[in-house]
Amino acid sequence: MFQNQVLDEYRKDIGQKLLFGLSAVTLLTLLTIYAILNGPVKLTYTEMYSVFTGQIVSGTAYNIIWNIRLPQVLTAVVAGAGLAISGAAMQSVLKNPLASPFTLGISHAAAFGASCSIVLLGTGTTYSTGAVVLDNPYITSLSAFTCSLFSTAVILALAKLKKATPEIMILAGIALGSLFTAGTSAIQYFAEDTQIASVIFWQFGDVSKTTWNELGIISLFVIPVSIWFAYNSWNYNALNSGDDTAKSLGVDVDKLRIRAMIGASFVSALIVSLVGIIGFVGLVVPHMVRKMIGGNEMLLLPVSCLMGSLLLLASDTVARNIISPQVLPVGIITSFLGAPLFIYLIIKGREYW
């Protein structure tokens, strides 16, 4: 029967994609364990097992796992997921493959906010020993976050004023991005060497900056926003066929677009202001996933989360181990690791643009 053949093909296709997602989950679990065990100090599986089961409650292994590795590894997982799903959602609602938290100026705004705080409020200095220290990381983060939100608010206000077309949002984002970049340069030009060092240090995305508290704050928003994005996946699918079609399928297009923008901007602003600038994940991970399993948002959004986590965690693991005991900021590695993978997918993956 023809009809069954169509359904069979569809089910087989979905099955394969779910299997892909499942493999990503498995890989992420294994990588998480590997990342906890490896670093400047190597731990054994037995040590980790004893720490997690509560047999060891103090000592080096306990400290390394609970106070250093676990927050760092989980931050990589959560931040990667948040950046990737924000990028995927933004690309879908703006119907533009170049949309991401970064092309929309959020990271530029965050960098500007952090520079302001470091240079003007003096929240960061470099000591003569060469160690760069942010005296008050919370104020720096808060300032970065405020600027990111301000930038998003301007974009949304413009969109609201002049009808919420994707083109207006993207162009406004690019304009604001260069405005904030100019602002950062101006501040740096007048800043002292030590302050510039702090600013640059802040801009390196680094998941080892976070403590349990910050991890908690990020998770508190990334998890519900991700679930909400996934819940809306059919609306985003409909939007992909055009605003008119989406409306004819019952989607309140303007409301959906604005809300998705608020959610995605908020999450990425939060991550950037606490972790620093990690490019590439939000822009490219959704494209990687589309190239691997196609564009159906119902799968694209959750799998983007997984791939974002995987990429950021893998990068962080490499960053901690490649020139051990030196630890590189993860923001440097994501592109080194992700770009070749993406180029490979451009050559080998499915075509879609």
Partner: protein, 255 residues
């Protein structure tokens, strides 16, 4: 479902696009809207689906005021086939048609949704490439996919915006046969179209529009040289067989 439109007005940025539109379409009727480019056909169609909200006037479908219906509820009743559609990111034929079930389904499509979709794909003869990306299809095939999506919606009213304008002869006939069949099954059809011969052949009623106003409306017998020339600015010959009307353009009329 019946459509009853009274005193509809619409303007784009303060410029009136539709003026005092009144229209009644009966259940299962096939209405073709004809008129030159820019006469307001597309705008009129979009108002019937609340894609655009008119400035004034009322649209009733059966007894329901369109303005008071939720978008999701309208989507359960009215299917819409846009003039040109190209997604930012490609999706498979199956997923595109499945989107038509969106107004009816929760987060995960039920097996009933999947069955309806595979039935429609089968009926539209799209089975052999149901897993392909729609961007890889020809224009004719893609249009059939879009129509399949609207049919998967199981609408009571079908709005089509120039569904045949970029299709070859065979696909034109195929698309209109499918649409006619829908009307025969009591789905109310409103279609904007440029090809007067096709309009004459497939529709029950004709609505002629000019400059955002209704010029004339009625059965296919209103397709006369006297009516067509002032609307299009082209003089035509009209030939009538027993069951077919032929319209042949002659030349651009002098102003």
């Amino acid at each position: 479902m019946k459509i009853n439109i009274e005193g509809l007005e619409f303007s784009y940025n303060g410029k009136p696009t539709l003026k005092n539109m009144n229209l009644k379409v009966g259940k299962g009727e096939f209405l073709s809207i004809i008129g030159p480019n820019g006469s307001g056909k597309t705008t009129f169609l979009k108002c019937m689906n609340k894609i655009l909200t008119p400035k004034q006037g009322s649209i009733l479908i059966d007894k329901y005021d369109l303005n008071k219906l939720h978008r999701e509820d309208i989507a359960k009743l009215v299917g819409y086939i846009p003039q040109a559609e190209r997604g930012a990111f490609p999706t498979s034929v199956f997923d595109t048609v499945l989107m038509g079930r969106k107004p009816h389904m929760k987060w995960i499509p039920s097996s009933k949704d999947l069955e309806i979709v595979s039935d429609v794909i089968d009926m539209m003869d799209l089975s052999s490439f149901s897993m392909k990306n729609i961007n890889e299809l020809s224009g004719g095939q893609r249009q059939k996919v879009i129509i399949a999506r609207a049919l998967a919606q199981q609408p009571r009213i079908l709005l089509l915006d120039e569904p045949t304008s970029s299709l070859d002869l065979k696909h034109q006939l195929e698309v209109l046969e499918i649409t006619r069949e829908q009307a025969n099954n009591d789905v109310t059809v409103v279609m904007s179209v440029h090809d007067l011969n096709l309009a004459a052949r497939y529709s029950d009623k004709i609505l002629m529009m000019k400059d955002g106003e209704i010029f004339h409306g009625g059965g296919t017998d209103i397709l006369t040289p006297e009516n067509i020339e002032p609307v299009y600015g082209v003089s035509v010959d009209v030939k009538r067989d027993s069951d077919q009307i032929w319209i042949m353009p002659k030349k651009i009329a002098c102003k």
